[in-house]
């Protein structure tokens, strides 16, 4: 076992425990904090594959910005334990079974695909580094990239229009 494998197993366990914590926590604030743990674990996986830019963008954008907004909303909504409606036991069972079915479908679909036979390249390759990524984005994929930025702009304009006072 070398250090990459140790880190891989550690991060995988962390991600799964975190994901279970997101679903299992009673208090939504704890759910958000578990979700941040999951994002960190996934960023760690990106770093293991030497995709440093993706890892740090994942942390800055998702863990740093979007989750802070989640926390803002949850803290200001003042969710108390007694204010929360008691959940139906049958509903919980149904949710669990549905989730398991979804996982089964995913596993079945992935086990047949060619992707499973490909081993990801660990700890090497510069595909994930920012210089390479920038060249690819602005040479080969410049039109999709620009179109997605227009999408962001329209979303921003929409948010401003909705948020504006009459």
């Amino acid at each position: 076992m070398n250090i990459t494998q140790i880190l891989f197993w550690f991060l995988s366990v962390l991600a799964i425990v975190g994901a279970a914590g997101v679903v299992g926590s009673k208090n939504p604030v704890y759910s958000v904090l578990w979700l941040i743990v999951v994002f960190f674990a996934i960023s760690g996986h990106y770093i293991l594959m030497n995709a440093q830019f993706l890892a740090i963008v994942n942390i800055i954008v998702y863990a740093g910005a979007i989750m802070v907004l989640f926390l803002f909303v949850i803290m200001l909504m003042n969710l108390n334990a007694d204010a929360e409606p008691a959940k139906n036991m049958n509903l919980k069972m149904a949710g669990t079974i549905a989730g398991m079915c979804l996982m089964l479908v995913f596993v079945a679909a992935l086990s047949r695909s060619d992707e499973m036979n490909r081993v990801s390249q660990m700890n090497g390759g510069d595909i994930g580094l920012i210089g390479y990524l920038g060249k690819v984005l602005f040479n080969d994929y410049v039109i999709p990239f620009e179109i997605s930025s227009v999408l962001f702009l329209s979303a921003m304009v929409g948010a401003v229009v909705i948020g504006k006072k009459e």
């Binding site: 208090n27 604030v29 830019f53 890892a55 863990a63 740093g64 926390l71 803290m75 920012i130």
Partner: protein, 354 residues
Amino acid sequence: MFLTIDWTIILEKFVLIVVVVMGSLIIAMYATWGERKVAAILQDRRGPNRAGPAGIFQPLADGLKLFFKEEIIPNFSSKFLFILGPCLAMLTAIMIGAVVPWGNKLHLFNRDMSLQIADINIGILFVFGVVSMGVYGIMIGGWASNNKFSLFGALRAASQIISYELPMGLALIALLMVTGTLSLKAMVGGQMDHIWNIFKQPLGFLIFLVCAFAECNRTPFDLAEAENELVGGYHTEYSSMKLGFYLFAEYINMFLSSAVMVSLFFGGYDIPFFNDAALIDKLGLNWVTIIQGGVLFIKIVCFLIFFMWVRWTIPRFRYDQLMNLGWKILIPLAIFNMLLTGALVLLKQNHWHF
């Protein structure tokens, strides 16, 4: 289970990490003393002068006092998060030191030892990631206190930090266009024996400086703990060393943001008016590295004094003024700076022809 690990590099990095963390803590400790002395000088007082000559042991006395105070955890708070808050604030403050190049390299025991903990490809983006994590320490602490004033302070601090990250990033993009790299080590290397980036990016530096003040929650932007409106801000309910951690994290943030600013704009460990490469031939690598470390330290101390000077000179902003400054002045200014820099870089590549 057989572990194949290169132990020497782990040992080397471990020693470096311990030195950097301890150094940050000690410097932050003496920054509190410095702050009180600067305040005293500006207000025509003496400042701390009882513990040791010129009050030099004052930080130790303060630390002891904080340790011996009663630790209070409010009854209706979530205990785990209440303790996690200051820990996170401290952790994120210290982590920035990992990418700052503290010097060139030392030649010890027949191997070159780089004085940077991690020279990662994403360099400065790591700093941004850590800074955006710093919000959680404040938010979790404020929320877990179960106190309206704490929550207000936390929300103010968080929205302030998020707002000022934007102009900071935009100002940095212009700098990255000039330097062409994200690694702090490469940036310092590019400024060695050339002109410093401050002369290439004066407007970018000004925006970055203002944002750094806001990110550190320093006056004039310390609205998160505005005593006259919010009792004590997000740390109202904290006592003992947990409060000490929050206050201390501010000083570590100040020290490390000074280090980042020096590395980005003021040549890092570059010795001004001397050719460093020629000095290495004359004095040997190790001595030059030590001098460079000293020069970096002097530059950082100048920044720290500037931080304190501003604190005792400029009054606190109002909250709407703070948001107006961030969103309506700094962001357009940063975008303008970015466009101007982009145009100039393109012109230069084209040998000054349109």
